[in-house]
Subunit: 89 residues, 2 copies
Amino acid sequence: MSELQTAMNTLLKVFHSYSGKEGDKFKLNKSELKKLLTTELEIVGKNGNVERLMQDLDLDKDGEVDFQEYVNFVATVTMMMDEFFQRNK
Amino acid sequence: MSELQTAMNTLLKVFHSYSGKEGDKFKLNKSELKKLLTTELEIVGKNGNVERLMQDLDLDKDGEVDFQEYVNFVATVTMMMDEFFQRNK
């Protein structure tokens, strides 16, 4: 398995470990999202407004964050954190 | 660094190792995309029609695939490959 495939499995495993806690097993509700942000991306969970972030992420407006919406968010955070992108703004 | 952050760095490192080869260092042109697909996701590169795939991925129609478009694609492939999603279709 390539490095990229391993990383993809990790993205999914982390998503599923939080989405599977309550309600719809394939989506993150607000409290699951908050736990994921706080535990996995300490930088975001603490001061970020989960409510507003939830609205930004929840593109199909069903009140929950699905895997695709979660991955879009992960990509955005990756770009924000990475000097590879910052250096070349 | 959490597992998720490590996976995010891998997604970026893999993207950058291909996007940095030719032309715009922040985007994948057709040949860079084909090399990435063939090497990192053997399953897609071989028989996939890179031309058509490129058009599907290239949402802003600039003829290249940027990091966000690449991550969207990676998420789609992850969902296709994963029995977690297949079992519950």
